[in-house]
């Protein structure tokens, strides 16, 4: 019987021929070569707008742009604030964003829970139809939405901004997917404990959904805060305009005061930044489902 031999065991191992597997020590990851220019490109408009907001009107008009202004004009911010009813703009934007965030959290939760857990006739069909509406661009439904809002007597009011945006399909979809991932035994335990479906939603499901609710709140806040098209269509009185629409008033038909427009823009982004900083711990935090042994 032949003794089994290892292939190549008859030759001595040639260490010189082995490829050098030692890692080379660059001071950065090769990814940085790609990411740093990309970040710079993303940052440029932001930096440019901050610089423009601190320049004189003349410098702001110049081309090529002056990226290192000779003097900083912080008074642009005061001028911008005083030249338009910014207080109204902020208040309107805040009402618009806060109401749509609250509406989405409440109504999307209710709808999403129904789609996730209740079995009712046609539930899948209705859900698919809702998803289909996500593919329809807003421009297509502007006119019907406008007609409905006009029938409600809400044209040129903050209410007209809020009502069509109280519940979004995106929110329903996002929450439904999250609810489906929660352990169903928790809800069964609550049902046996005597909780109604609504009690289960508000006392069991929603407290466990903080991360996804925070995500939806941030996305909706950002969307409402930055919305321009819908306010442009239904708001005509400056007192009822939200920020983004109000800012456009710096753009005259002949002259645009770029430095003031940018000062206003920078101011308008501060609440957005605050919301994000406040909510990001919820964003990051995940719930440990250790009441359930997986």
């Amino acid at each position: 019987m032949a003794t089994p031999t290892l292939i190549g065991a008859d030759r001595p191992l040639d260490f010189e021929a082995l490829p050098d597997k030692r890692p080379r020590h660059w001071p950065f990851s090769p990814w940085h070569l790609f990411l740093i220019p990309l970040s710079a490109a993303m940052l440029l408009p932001l930096v440019w707008s901050v610089i423009t907001s601190l320049e004189t009107s003349a410098d702001a008009q110049r081309f090529p742009p002056v990226l290192l202004p000779s003097s900083l004009h912080f008074e642009n911010y005061v001028h911008a604030w005083n030249s338009l009813p910014f207080g109204h703009f902020f208040l309107n934007s805040f009402l618009y964003a806060a109401a749509t965030v609250a509406g989405n959290l409440l109504f999307c939760s209710l709808a999403a829970y129904a789609f996730a857990r209740l079995r009712f006739f046609g539930s899948n069909l209705v859900f698919v139809l809702l998803l289909v509406t996500l593919m329809v661009p807003f421009q297509v439904v502007i006119i019907p939405t406008f007609l409905i809002v006009r029938k409600l007597g809400l044209i040129d009011s903050v209410g007209g901004l809020i009502v069509p945006n109280l519940c979004g399909v995106f929110g329903i979809f996002l929450l439904r997917q999250f609810f489906l991932s929660l352990p169903v035994q928790l809800e069964e335990a609550a049902r046996i404990d005597g909780a109604s479906r609504l009690a289960i939603l508000f006392k069991i499901v929603l407290p466990l959904s903080a991360p996804v609710l925070a995500t939806l709140a941030i996305i909706q806040f950002m969307w409402s805060w930055n919305d321009f098209l819908w306010p442009l269509i239904i708001i005509t009185t400056p007192q009822h305009a939200p920020l983004q629409l109000g800012l456009s008033m710096f753009q005259g038909s002949h002259v645009t005061q770029w430095n003031l427009l940018m000062a206003g823009t920078v101011m308008s982004q501060i609440p957005m930044l605050a919301v994000f900083l406040f909510a990001q711990r919820w964003f990051i935090q995940s719930i440990a489902y250790t009441g359930i042994k997986q």
């Binding site: 928790l186 335990a189 049902r191 046996i192 404990d193 466990l208 359930i292 997986q294």
Partner: protein, 374 residues
């Protein structure tokens, strides 16, 4: 507290699986009833039907004489402990215990009184402020039982509650469960696939296989008088040895074993012998005996298990119309397990002669698997 009954209950799932077939079972007030069977036999579905988490396709379920078949879980006044406990992770132990009472609008001071009494009984006083994530497995188990019992439900349902605990804790919690039941005397339905739990805990067992009830009785009764070959093989550890045999003129012959069984009709049958019903044969032992070739010896201290072979053919415990007991060509050597005195020094490879204890040989019909009772 109340009695629970199933009357011809069938559950078929939407995708077509028939999980429970025509189950009829009456559980009197205060009884500790065990539903036992292999996994996927429908025992958990039967429990969920009582809880109201599933709705029966046909038949009636009653609790305290009231038909509850189509009531929602909250209207049935039962409590359930889940296999994975299902504690509310965002609530403290205290709030977990109080949740069910609060949902039923029990007055606040009454809630506090009952939660305090339950936590004292289960030794949870130190843990009331903690969240489930901060508890050990045994503590979570206790909280889950407390949450169920604090409501003083009509019936207490447990779905494999000990399966997530380690062996030592399981034994401890088993004793505690029995103590709680003796103290509260609450109608309890307990689902398990573990036949040790089934034997030790239950007032009565219901053995279920393939969605059908096989036998109901006290643990001792089911062990001593199994209704069919499935029950005989499932209850008892290690399982009963099953051999194919042929009966003629009041004697059954399996390999070189020949036993007198007057009640067995002539023809093929299955003989069942428990591992503990065999012992080493003394020199002039008149009892029926057979040769046994030892393959593996497992010493357990007080006793030992010997696995090996005898002359004869093995019979399958899964008797059904599709797979009769005698399908396929089994070897002419049958594998057998024997439980013997631990002081014996047996070695693998040895051949010994085993004697069968008189009156401890079971016979089953070869076609249906039903016990042939003399």
């Amino acid at each position: 507290m109340a009695d629970v009954s199933f009357q011809d209950v069938t559950k078929q799932f939407a995708e077509g699986t028939l999980a429970v077939k025509g189950l009829s079972l009456a559980i009197p007030d205060g009884e500790f009833m065990i539903l036992v069977g292999p996994s996927g036999c429908g025992k958990t579905t039967a429990l969920r039907l009582v809880a109201g988490l599933e709705t029966a396709t046909s038949g009636t379920i009653t609790i305290a004489g009231r038909a509850v078949t189509h009531l929602s879980p909250r209207d049935r006044d039962i409590a359930m402990v889940f296999q994975n406990y299902a504690l509310y992770p965002h609530m403290s132990v205290q709030r977990n215990l109080a949740f069910g009472l609060r949902q039923r609008h029990v007055p606040r001071d009454e809630v506090e009184r009952r939660v305090a009494a339950m936590s004292a009984m289960l030794g949870l006083d130190e843990l009331l402020r903690r969240r489930p994530a901060q508890l050990s497995g045994g503590q979570r188990q206790r909280v889950a039982m407390g949450r169920a019992l604090v409501r003083e439900p009509k019936a207490f349902l447990l779905d494999e509650p000990l399966s997530n605990l380690d062996a030592k804790l399981r034994v401890q919690m088993r004793a505690e469960l029995k103590r709680i039941h003796q103290r509260l005397n609450i109608t309890t339905i307990y689902v398990t696939h573990d036949q040790v739990e089934a034997m030790t805990l239950g007032d009565r067992l219901a053995v279920i296989s393939g969605g059908e009830l096989q036998q109901v009785g006290t643990p001792q009764d089911v062990y001593e008088h199994p209704a069919n070959v499935f029950v005989a093989h499932f209850i008892g550890s290690p399982p009963m040895n099953l051999l194919r045999a042929t009966a003629s003129a009041g004697r059954a012959q399996a390999g070189d074993l020949s036993v007198e069984l007057a009640h067995v009709p002539d023809g093929p049958c299955v003989l069942g012998i428990r591992p503990e019903s065999l012992s080493l044969m003394a020199p002039d032992d008149p009892r029926p005996s057979l040769d046994f070739d030892i393959e593996v010896v497992e010493p357990l201290g007080g006793e030992l298990l010997a696995h090996g072979f005898v002359n004869g053919r093995l019979a399958s415990p899964d008797a059904s119309e599709e797979t009769p007991l005698f399908t396929g060509d089994s070897e002419s050597r049958a594998e057998v397990t024997v439980k013997l005195d631990g002081r014996l020094r047996l070695k693998a490879g040895e051949r010994v002669r085993l004697a069968v204890h008189a009156g401890e040989v079971y016979a089953f019909d070869a076609a249906s698997g039903a016990a042939l009772i003399g």
